[in-house]
C-alpha cells in the first residue's frame, strides 16, 4: 500500500524522480527546492527525507560521509496509486465515470482527446 505524501514531501519526491542519475545527493535536492522557489533549512530537509524513508519512498545509503538517496517507488506507481484512490473516492472505482467526466467536463484539449483515443486503441490492440 503506497502511503500518502504531504505537499512538501511530494515536492522532494518530484525532484528525486526528475533526477536523471540513479541516486540523488543531498545538495541536489536542496538546490532543486531552491530552484522551485521553495527553499528550506537543512535540518528541515533531513527531517522530511527521513519521513520519506519511513514511508518507504526512499532508501538511503551512507557512502563516506554523505547519504545517497534512491527511490523505492516510481513516479508512475505513485500516480497509479493516487489515481486509484481518487477514483475510489470520487467515482466509486468507475473508470468510465472518470473518463466521461474528463470528456464532458471539457477538461481535455482537442489534441489531448485525440491522443487519448489513440492510446485507447493501442491498449486494446495489446490485450
Amino acid at each position: 500500500m503506497v502511503q500518502q505524501l504531504s505537499d512538501a514531501e511530494l515536492e522532494i519526491m518530484k525532484i528525486v524522480w526528475g533526477n536523471s542519475e540513479e541516486v540523488s545527493l543531498f545538495p541536489y535536492i536542496m538546490n532543486g527546492l531552491a530552484e522551485k522557489g521553495k527553499p528550506c533549512q537543512k535540518n528541515t530537509l533531513i527531517v522530511l527525507l527521513s519521513r520519506l524513508i519511513d514511508k518507504g519512498f526512499l532508501s538511503a545509503k551512507k557512502v563516506g560521509r554523505r547519504n545517497e538517496y534512491t527511490t523505492l517507488i516510481s513516479e508512475m506507481e505513485y500516480q497509479t496509486a493516487q489515481t486509484k484512490k481518487f477514483m475510489d473516492k470520487i467515482y466509486e472505482g468507475s473508470v468510465k465515470g472518470l473518463v466521461s467526466n474528463l470528456i464532458f467536463g471539457d477538461l481535455l484539449a482537442d489534441e489531448e482527446y485525440e491522443e487519448l483515443k489513440r492510446l485507447l486503441e493501442k491498449g486494446k490492440g495489446q490485450q
Binding site: A8, K38, C40, Q41, N43, T44, V47, S50
Partner: protein, 712 residues
C-alpha cells in the same frame, strides 16, 4: 553477597547525608545560586549513590571514626520494623571504623549460633535479604520502563508529523542557534496536554496542536531543545535507576523530586539567558497557556514536558520573574560550594559500619513516587486561575497578578475589583483595570462608585481606559457638580489641562478676593503678603476653619501684634482676637518642638529619583522601647510612596509603615509619628526603607527623625 549489600547500604547512607546537606544549602541560597548549579550538583550525589569508590580513605581513618559516630547519631534511621530482625538486632556489632569487608564483625548472622528455630529463620532472612532488595529494585525498574513504554505507545498512536515547512524551518533555525546538529522531528498529538520531548537518539518534539502563536512556538521550542541539548532524558533515567536501587531510602525519593523541579528551573533559566531578561513576562505567559489543559495522561515519567504540574509552575513563574544574571561573587561562591560537595562526596566515602548495616530494608515506599500531582482534566482553567490570583495577591506579586487577571472570567474579575477597591489596593486595582474588555460594564460601575465615594485615585485609573466621548460625559458631570478634583483629572486625561489651569486660576483669584473681603469685614487688611490689623503690622496671623481642614497662617517677624480669627458656628468669621502668650508658644513650639532635643537622630532623605517598584534602604537603626519615629518626606511625582522599617532579610514585613497615595492636586507626602513599644512592636535593629510601589518618585525630599526615649 551481603557484603555487597552492606557496601551498598553505606553508599545509601552517605548519599542520604549529602542529600540532606544539599537540601539545607538550597534552602538558604535558593535564589542566590544559579539554577543550573542547583540542577547539576545533584549529579555528584547520584554518582555517590551509584559508584562504590572511596576505599582508599582508610588513610583518613580517624576522621572516619568521627564521621561514623555522627552518622550513627544523625542518620534518622527508621527503627527496626521486622520482628525477625529484632531477634538478632541486639547482636549487631558496634561501629567498626573504616574497614570495609569485615565479614566476621559485621555479619550479625555469624554471631547467632544458637539453635532456636526462630533465630534460624531470622538468620536465613538476613542472609537472603539482599535478594529481597534486588527483586524489589528490579521490579521497580521494570515497572518504570513499562510505564514509559506505555506512554510512548500512547503518544505514538495519535502522532501526526507537522507538514508546515514554515514551522519546520523555524525549528531548524532555533536548533541551529542552540547549537544542536541533529535534526529534530516535530509532531502533533492532540492527546498530549502540554508540549514535550520524547526519544533519546531520535528526538521528537510533540505539540498538542499546531495552532500556536509565533512567539509561544519559539519559547516552547527553545525550552524543549534546551532539554535535549542538556540530555535531560538521560539524567532523568539515571535518577530513576538510582531511585529503583535505593528504593528503601526516603531521601533518594526526596532527591528525585528535587531534581525534577531543578530540571525545569534550570531549563527556564537557560532559556531566559538566551531570549533575554526583557522577555521573561512573555515566557511566563507561554508557560501559563501551556498549562491551561494539563494532565490527560501521567506524562511526566521519562519524557520532558514543558509544564510538569501546577505547584511547580507557580514556583517557576516566580523564579522567571526574579531571573537575573549571577554576579561574579556568586559565581565564586558557587565554585567553592561545588568543591565542597564533591569533596564531601568523596570524603563521606563508602564504609560498611554497624550504623549502615542497621538500615532496615523495610521502608515501605514502594510507590515509586513518580506520578505525583497530575491534576484531573476538565473545565478548571478559570478556577485554577482564580486560586493562582489569590496566591499572587497574598504574596503581593503585582506582575504575576497582572498576568493572571485577564484569564479570569468576568464574574471573577468583578469580584476581584470589588475586593481591591474595598481594600483600597490601588496598585493592584489599576493594573487589573487595564485588562478589562474595552466595553465592559465594570468600567461604568466602578467609575460611578469611585465618583460617589470621592476616590480620585481609583477614578483616575479607570479614566485611563475610557474613550474621549465617555471622558467628556464625565467632565460635564463634574463641571455641573462643581467637583474640583474630578474636573482636574478629566481635563488632564482629555489633554485640556490649560483650560483647567485657567479655570483654576480664575477660581483661585475669586477665592482670594472673597477671602480678602471677609478679612476686611473684621478689620484685617492685606497688602501682598503683609497683614495689617488696626493699622499695625501683624506678626502672627492665624485663621483656622472649624473642621481644621484648612488654615491660613502668616508669620511676619517685623509685625507687632498676634491675632487670630474667631469663627462662628456657620463658619463665618465673626471677629478677630489677640492671641494669648500661651497660644503663641503652643503654636510655635509645635513647629520646632523637636529641634531642641539633642538626642534626636536625623536621617535626611534626598533622592532625585526612586525608580518605579524600587525599594531603597536608608541604613540600619537600633530602636528601643519608647523611641519616637517621625517621618516627613515628600515627593514631586509618583502615585504612591511607602516608608517603613523592616528586619533585615524580611522586607515584606513592614513596621511603622506609611503607605500614602497621591491625592490629585496635592504633593505626595508621608508624614507620620510613631512610638516604638510593646505589644504592637518590638525594639530591635531595623532597616529603614523607602519604596515607590506605583510610578517613579522624583525629587524626594525630607527626613526621618528618631528621638530616643531614655535620654529624655
Amino acid at each position: 553477597m551481603n557484603a555487597v549489600l552492606k557496601t551498598f547500604l553505606s553508599m545509601s547512607v552517605s548519599g542520604g547525608l549529602l542529600i540532606l546537606t544539599l537540601l539545607l544549602v538550597k534552602r538558604f541560597l535558593k535564589d542566590k545560586i544559579s539554577r543550573q548549579w542547583q540542577y547539576y550538583i545533584w549529579l555528584v550525589v547520584v554518582l555517590r549513590l551509584l559508584l562504590p569508590f572511596g576505599s582508599e580513605v582508610n588513610l583518613l581513618g580517624k576522621t572516619y571514626q568521627a564521621v561514623d559516630q555522627t552518622i550513627s547519631q544523625a542518620a534518622p534511621l527508621p527503627q527496626q520494623q521486622q520482628p525477625p530482625r529484632n531477634a538478632t538486632g541486639g547482636n549487631l556489632a558496634p561501629a567498626v571504623g573504616a574497614e570495609r569487608y569485615n565479614e566476621t564483625v559485621n555479619n550479625p548472622a555469624d554471631d547467632v549460633t544458637t539453635a532456636s528455630p526462630l533465630q534460624d529463620i531470622g538468620t536465613l532472612f538476613i542472609d537472603h535479604i539482599w535478594l529481597a532488595w534486588l527483586i524489589v529494585a528490579l521490579g521497580l525498574l521494570i515497572r518504570k520502563i513499562t510505564i514509559y513504554q506505555g506512554f510512548i505507545r500512547y503518544i505514538n498512536a495519535g502522532l501526526t508529523p507537522v507538514f508546515d515547512i514554515g514551522l519546520l524551518d523555524r525549528l531548524s533555525i532555533a536548533a541551529k542557534q542552540s547549537g544542536i546538529k541533529k535534526p529534530i522531528e516535530l509532531c502533533i498529538n492532540p492527546l498530549v496536554s502540554s508540549p514535550l520531548l520524547i526519544g533519546f537518539f531520535h528526538p521528537c518534539i510533540v505539540l498538542p496542536g499546531a495552532d500556536i502563536p509565533e512567539k509561544d512556538f519559539r519559547y516552547i521550542i527553545l525550552h524543549e531543545l534546551t532539554h535535549y541539548k542538556r540530555r535531560d532524558m538521560f539524567y532523568k533515567w539515571l535518577v530513576q535507576i538510582t531511585v529503583c536501587l535505593h528504593w528503601f531510602n526516603p531521601f533518594v525519593h526526596l532527591m528525585s523530586r528535587e531534581i525534577t523541579k531543578a530540571c525545569e528551573f534550570s531549563c527556564d533559566e537557560a532559556v531566559l539567558a538566551k531570549i533575554g531578561n526583557g522577555n521573561a513576562q512573555d515566557y511566563g505567559k507561554t508557560l501559563l497557556d501551556a498549562m491551561a489543559a494539563v494532565g490527560k495522561y501521567k506524562e511526566n515519567l521519562g519524557a520532558v514536558t514543558l509544564s510538569e504540574n501546577k505547584q511547580l509552575l507557580k514556583e517557576r513563574l516566580c523564579a522567571i520573574m526574579k531571573f537575573k544574571k549571577k554576579s561574579t561573587a556568586i559565581r565564586f561562591l558557587t565554585g567553592v560550594l561545588t568543591l565542597c560537595v564533591i569533596l564531601g562526596a568523596a570524603f563521606v566515602g563508602v564504609y560498611p559500619t554497624a550504623a549502615a548495616a542497621n538500615q532496615p530494608s523495610g521502608k515501605h515506599s514502594v510507590s515509586g513516587g513518580q506520578n505525583s500531582t497530575q491534576v484531573g482534566t476538565g473545565e478548571k482553567s478559570s478556577k485554577d486561575y482564580s486560586s493562582l490570583a489569590e496566591q499572587y495577591y497574598d504574596a503581593g506579586s503585582l506582575p504575576l497578578f497582572e498576568i493572571t487577571f485577564p484569564r479570569l472570567d468576568e464574574n471573577a474579575q468583578k469580584k476581584w475589583l470589588e475586593k481591591l477597591y474595598a481594600d483600597g489596593d490601588f496598585a493592584f486595582f489599576s493594573v487589573s483595570v487595564r485588562w478589562l474588555d474595552t466595553n465592559s460594564a465594570l468600567f461604568t460601575d466602578f467609575a460611578e462608585k469611585a465618583y460617589a465615594d470621592d476616590e480620585t485615585a481609583f477614578f483616575s485609573a479607570l479614566t485611563d481606559c475610557m474613550d474621549e466621548a465617555e471622558l467628556e460625559l464625565w467632565l460635564d458631570r463634574a463641571l455641573e457638580d462643581g467637583n474640583w478634583a474630578f474636573q482636574s483629572i478629566l481635563f488632564g486625561k482629555l489633554n485640556r489641562s490649560e483650560e483647567f489651569d485657567e479655570m483654576e486660576e480664575k477660581q483661585e483669584k475669586e477665592w482670594a478676593e472673597a477671602q480678602a473681603a471677609e478679612y476686611r469685614a473684621v478689620g484685617v487688611t492685606t497688602d501682598g503678603k503683609d497683614y495689617y490689623y488696626q493699622g499695625r503690622l501683624v506678626n502672627i496671623f492665624l485663621d483656622i476653619r472649624p473642621n481644621k481642614s484648612f488654615y491660613t497662617l502668616n508669620i511676619n517677624p517685623k509685625g507687632t501684634v498676634n491675632i487670630k480669627t474667631v469663627r462662628d458656628a456657620e463658619n463665618k468669621i465673626a471677629g478677630v482676637s489677640y492671641m494669648t502668650e500661651a497660644e503663641v508658644t503652643e503654636l510655635l513650639g509645635d513647629m520646632d518642638g523637636s529641634d531642641d532635643k539633642t538626642d534626636v537622630e536625623t536621617i535626611p532623605v534626598i533622592f532625585d529619583t526612586v525608580a518605579a517598584g524600587e525599594t531603597i534602604s536608608l541604613g540600619e537603626y537600633t530602636l528601643s522601647d519608647g523611641d519616637e519615629i517621625s517621618y516627613n518626606i515628600s515627593a514631586e511625582t509618583g502615585n504612591r510612596m511607602k516608608v517603613f522599617f523592616a528586619k533585615d532579610g524580611q522586607e515584606d514585613v513592614a513596621y511603622w509603615s506609611v503607605n500614602n497615595l497621591r491625592q490629585p492636586g496635592k504633593s505626595l507626602e508621608c508624614i507620620a509619628d510613631f512610638t516604638v513599644g510593646i505589644p504592637a512592636t518590638k525594639p530591635g535593629i531595623y532597616k529603614l526603607y523607602i519604596q515607590a510601589p506605583d510610578g517613579a518618585l522624583r525629587n524626594v525630599k525630607g527626613s526621618v527623625l528618631i528621638a530616643s526615649a531614655d535620654a529624655s
